[in-house]
Amino acid sequence: MIGEGTQSTNQRRHNYVRENVDVGFFTDPTVCIGCKACEVACKEWNEVPDDGFTWSGSSYDNTGRLGASTWRHVLFLEQDRQKGNQIVGSSGDGADPFRWVFLSDVCKHCEEAGCLEACPTGSIIRTEVGSVFVQNDVCNGCGYCVVSCPFGVIDRRPEPLADAGGAFKCTFCYDRQKSGLVPACAKVCPTESIVFGRLDDLRARAHERVRQLRENGYGDAQLYDPQETSVRGIHAFFLILGEPEAYGLPPKPEVPTIYLRSAWLSAFATMIAAILVVFATFFFFA
């Protein structure tokens, strides 16, 4: 936490991997300044290639969305809403409100992860700290995780980028964590908008922060951590102002494995029907 200096969970060394502690990210847009240091630190540490110099015209966001070569993405949201208790309007009468919200998006590391379930090679695994990790040397690039992620995070890296063909997403800096270091994005975050730490601590802290903000005029502050859907919560959760839709977050994400039962039932019924029909035609029309 800011003010804790080198004792902040964003700065101090830890043994979470050895101790099998579930860890998480709590990202708080109310303190984010939109510096994008997390994006750069992520790409630098993980040697993620740049993926094009395209100017978007969407506020200051020229990154667009998470993908195979973007594991942190700062959203720049311009909304006609009041931010907390800010005084708006030329005479402070609240007319013509406007706010600029920054939020650093990242892989959610779901409790029930669609990509992990879908991976046919066992390349995607859950680590000791509860994060979802793609083993790059195992992945053969089948692309099934891509359509199985309810948050649209993981993607296959296209040519001609380095290491193309495999599926990539945030690793939760598993390599750093194994050495007792903090993920690169959290380490560099100058305002600790991204907080890294024990999942249970962070959840408690996030609820406290929401309460604090609501008391201070941020009536639309809420936690985005879909625990009531089949995703059963995410390890990288967010505080958001307003609705999740505006942040490109699905309001009710579901892990696709819940569709397996009905789809397989239909498939088995089709199979049986097919066998019966073919036998029947040969029997009756022979």
Binding site: G57, E117, C142, L265, S266, I275, V278, T281, F282
Partner: protein, 326 residues
């Protein structure tokens, strides 16, 4: 499709260089100077499938091969050995082409073998990889055994043994074949893409039916103009008609509009018309080869249509929001 931003920009550039000034409107015109789009600047919430033409072709060929193995089994049971030989030949050819197509579509084809590191029942892709492999391991020896038996290469007990082996292998091929022809529906149905998962019950039926109909149609085109196959043709086209009607009736608004609107919608619709009503009418009028061709075109087209719809649907934030409204 509307003109893309980049095309429009190029046009603006040319105009600017030509006249020195541009009076026309730029890009992102909808809704005034600030783009107001659904979600976060209209960015896709989901990732579109990265699959290219190999996958729909694989769906098509895998469907034919799988269902051909079933037809081979039933033909053998009813002592149409000739038909069985041709069917198992189709199955074996399909069993060879299918993994090649699948491998071609991989980001890292050299690592195809990693598919067989693990078996995960909860991953249709893993199930499918094993099914394709086992199907190949059954149908290709089955073809060999059937041919050895049919050509009486060996005699006596050995031939008897080969006959039993051929029977078993054809039986196994048929079993894995029907799985191969239908699991692909689950593969698309159990994903996060609204246009797909909303129709996860329809997809296996559709893919299975298309597989039977295509296998029968192909056999007919290869000269097996027999009543059971004709009946299968009627049956498959009839089911496709019903599925088409069901798809047109069972709309989910914005959530699955990729199936009904735009290019992807028309590809699916075209596929359904070719393999459903058109094939049915042609067959009823007695133009059997044309009906068979129509059905095959429809089956292939529709596979492309479903992939295209998946791409459109994943990139449509409104579809995702609509599918999660409850």
């Amino acid at each position: 499709m509307a003109m893309s931003d980049e095309e429009r920009l190029d046009e603006l550039r040319e105009e600017a260089w030509g006249k020195g000034i541009v009076r026309g409107r730029g890009v992102d015109v909808a809704g005034g100077p600030i783009p107001r789009r659904v979600g976060y600047y209209g960015q896709p919430l989901l990732k579109p499938p990265v699959w290219t033409w190999e996958i729909p072709v694989y769906f098509f060929i895998g469907g034919i091969a799988g269902m051909a193995a079933l037809i081979a089994l039933v033909s053998a049971v009813f002592h149409h050995l000739d038909r069985a030989r041709m069917s198992i030949l189709l199955a074996a050819i399909g069993a060879i082409i299918s993994p090649i197509l699948l491998t071609m579509d991989l980001g890292r084809p050299r690592l195809f073998i990693n598919m067989l590191r693990v078996f995960k029942y909860q991953s249709p892709m893993s199930v499918g990889a094993w099914v394709v492999t086992i199907f190949g391991a059954c149908s290709i020896p089955a073809l060999l055994a059937v041919e050895l038996h049919a050509r009486h290469v060996f005699a006596g007990d050995l031939d008897q043994f080969i006959k039993i082996a051929a029977g078993s292998l054809v039986f196994a091929s048929a079993f894995w074949g029907v799985l191969l022809a239908t699991y692909t529906g689950v593969l698309l149905g159990a994903t996060a893409i609204p246009a797909w998962y909303l129709h996860r019950v329809l997809l296996p039926i559709h893919f299975g039916t298309a597989g039977i109909g295509s296998a029968a149609a192909l056999l007919e085109l290869l000269g097996y103009r027999v009543a059971p196959l004709n009946a299968l043709g009627f049956f498959a086209a009839g089911i496709e008609c019903a599925l088409w009607i069901s798809l047109e009736m069972n709309k989910h608004g914005a959530a699955d509009r990729a199936l009904h609107e735009a290019q992807s919608g028309w590809i699916i619709r075209g596929g359904e018309i070719f393999s459903g009503p058109l094939a049915l009418v042609l067959r009823a009028l007695g133009f059997v080869p044309f009906a068979a061709i129509s059905f095959l075109i429809g089956a292939l087209l529709s596979r492309f249509g479903w992939l295209a719809a998946g791409k459109v649907s994943a990139c449509d934030p409104e579809a995702v929001f609509a599918s999660q409204e409850k």
